[in-house]
């Protein structure tokens, strides 16, 4: 475990600007405003090799560059605080622990890309965090860190807080933008991407909370020092949210390069009641399910990619042997069925059919043909859906059908090894 991005969380009064400044807060902003040109800031972020922490791992500096290159009378910076990926609660730690740090990151981003206005889109499920942010913004306005001519510089920037209202899809940046515009959060097709055409058609930078929290740190210690953390391909640290059947559930800041085994057994104290690990789901409900024999994988974007794993938001769900794979995937699929925005055909209909078929299998009424259908639907959703939600929704299904194929097949014969699924007429003999 390390303490780089989250070092101030829990160490200060989150609304005390005095505390924050005392601990070095706003030093980076001052440095940026008075000693650096926007292009230098972008270069520094590019040098740091910071990749987006929201899920897509897009190089942050490059994204900033895209927005800065756009010519427009108006540009926006959006902080994506719609942490909706099940099992992810790391942004909440940052939002509650040190809101000024995130806002400082936004201010620096605004300066770098040439935006004067920012939005923090926070999920409706975090009402307390939202209140805190509203207060934080008010304080910063009074203290001259937000508004016109910040710290008497030429730079002006303002922030509005906007609330989500219960829609997972709004974590997707174009759906989020729709939501800020007051619309249902239905994703737009891309391109155009938000850096070119985003909020109200203007160039828009959307960064995740954790990404923005990295910014003041990088500028404070310098890209070179920052890169000392982590691995070659994945610099810095990552906040991971561990949940499920582990002894110590929670959010931990770790350096890239740590193994999954170290996370689960060293940091989190292993599984509860010494249960046996069945699989880990990485990156939330839209992530892959990997079996216990892959525990020695290192947390690293490149290494993960080699195994077709996305780190996503950095959630790790620990699933033990007491869990039935089919039942688990049914629950996961119900989540996506509930959260699909309904706009594009594959996602709107695909999730529905997946749930329907899985219910059938869990009731012992499934057939070999159903497994083929699941494969068909998953492929179509992955390849043809309009946005990331539909594309990623069948990931867990696909990976469990790969690693736990026999368990699906057992259900066709009316047998559930976890004893979760109750079949009409009871458990059949093998």
């Amino acid at each position: 475990m390390v303490n780089l991005i989250s070092r101030l969380c829990g160490k200060l009064d989150p609304l005390s600007i005095y505390d924050y400044r005392e601990k070095g807060g706003f030093k980076s902003l001052e440095k940026v405003l008075f000693k650096m040109k926007p292009i230098d800031v972008i270069d520094e972020i590019k040098k740091s090799n910071l990749k987006g922490r929201g899920g897509a791992a897009f190089p942050t500096g490059l994204k900033w560059q895209f927005v800065s290159m756009e010519e427009s009378d108006e540009k926006y910076v959006i902080c994506n605080a719609d942490e909706g990926e099940p099992g992810t609660f790391k942004d909440k730690i940052l939002l509650d622990g040190c809101p000024f740090q995130i806002i400082e990151g936004m201010l620096i981003a605004g300066y770098a890309v040439g935006a004067k206005k920012g939005f923090i889109y926070i999920r409706g499920e975090y009402p307390k965090s939202k209140e805190l942010l509203i207060e934080a913004v008010d304080i910063l306005k009074k203290e001259g860190y937000l508004g016109d001519n910040i710290l008497s510089s030429d730079f002006s920037f303002d922030i509005e807080i906007r609330s989500g209202a219960g829609a997972y899809v709004c974590g997707e940046e174009t759906a989020l933008i729709e939501s800020i515009e007051g619309e249902p959060g239905r994703s737009r097709f891309k391109p155009p991407y938000p850096p070119n055409k985003g909020l109200w058609g203007k160039p828009t930078l959307v960064n995740n909370v954790e990404t923005l929290a990295n910014i003041p740190v990088i500028l404070e210690i310098g890209a070179e020092n920052y890169k000392k953390y982590g691995t070659e391909s994945s610099s810095g640290t990552k906040l991971i949210s561990v949940s499920g059947s582990v002894v110590n559930k929670g959010v931990y800041e770790v350096e890239f390069g740590i193994t999954l085994r170290e996370i689960i057994y060293d940091i989190c104290g292993g599984l509860i009641e010494d249960r046996k690990l069945k699989f880990l789901q990485i990156g939330g409900s839209s992530g892959v399910c990997i079996p216990a024999d892959m525990l020695d994988l290192r947390l690293d974007f490149d290494e993960f990619r080699k195994h077709d794993i996305g780190l996503g938001s950095g959630a790790i769900l620990v699933v033990d042997e007491n869990t039935c794979v089919v039942d688990f995937i049914k629950v996961t699929s119900e989540f996506f069925e509930h959260e699909s925005c309904g706009k594009c055909t594959p996602c709107r209909e695909g999730n529905y059919h997946i749930v329907r078929i899985l219910k059938r299998i869990a009731e012992g009424k499934g057939s070999k043909r159903d497994l083929d259908l699941l494969k068909n639907i998953s492929d179509v959703m992955q390849q043809c859906s309009l946005c990331g939600l539909g594309q990623a929704a069948p990931t867990a299904l696909i990976t469990t059908m790969k690693y736990f194929k026999e368990e699906y097949e057992e259900h066709l014969k009316g047998y559930c090894r976890a004893g979760k699924c109750t079949f009409k007429g009871g458990v059949l003999d093998e």
Partner: protein
């Protein structure tokens, strides 16, 4: 306070522009008895913000935190996402249903409680967890649930 007043206060507070629609709906819901956005309020918003009523309704029915149906004074939202599921959320559902004598999606006769599912509320370290209005309750078991309900009935938090 009457509905008209709640709506106009919400619009005054959040701003009279189309992009504030969701904020306004949340505000109205939080201040309306029964934790919901009454259809009458949708008409008022449609007029004030010059948004077609069909669109206002479309937004109100898109977001799952918004309800156009009356809920309980305490809207109990049980997380049914994977982390809480792993920690036994389906048992929690049964216990709540048993203790309150209603099924998921229903409201108790006295209007005090309603039960519904919610997607992940970010309390995975406290799984299984529920959200009751703005407050999160975690590490639930039968005793804790009985305790929470009793305390809310008494008017406590």
């Amino acid at each position: 306070m009457n509905l008209q007043q709640i709506v106009s206060d919400a619009i005054d507070k959040k701003g009279n522009t189309k992009d504030k629609l969701i904020e306004i709906l949340l505000e109205i819901q939080s201040r309306t008895e029964g934790n919901y956005v009454p259809t009458e309020s949708l008409k008022m918003i449609s007029e004030s913000l010059d948004i077609p009523l069909s669109k206002v309704y479309g937004v109100a029915t898109f977001y799952s935190m918004l309800s156009v149906k009356k809920r309980g004074k305490y809207a109990i939202q049980i997380c049914n996402s994977a982390p809480c599921y792993i920690s036994g959320s389906s048992d929690i559902v049964k216990i709540f249903e048993e203790v309150l004598g209603i099924k998921m999606g229903e409201v108790t006769q006295d209007g005090m409680f309603s039960l519904e599912y919610t997607s992940c509320i970010g309390a995975c370290n406290l799984a299984p967890a529920v959200k009751i209005n703005d407050k999160v309750y975690g590490n639930l078991d039968r005793n804790k649930i009985i305790e929470i309900i009793a305390s809310l009935r008494k008017g406590g938090e």
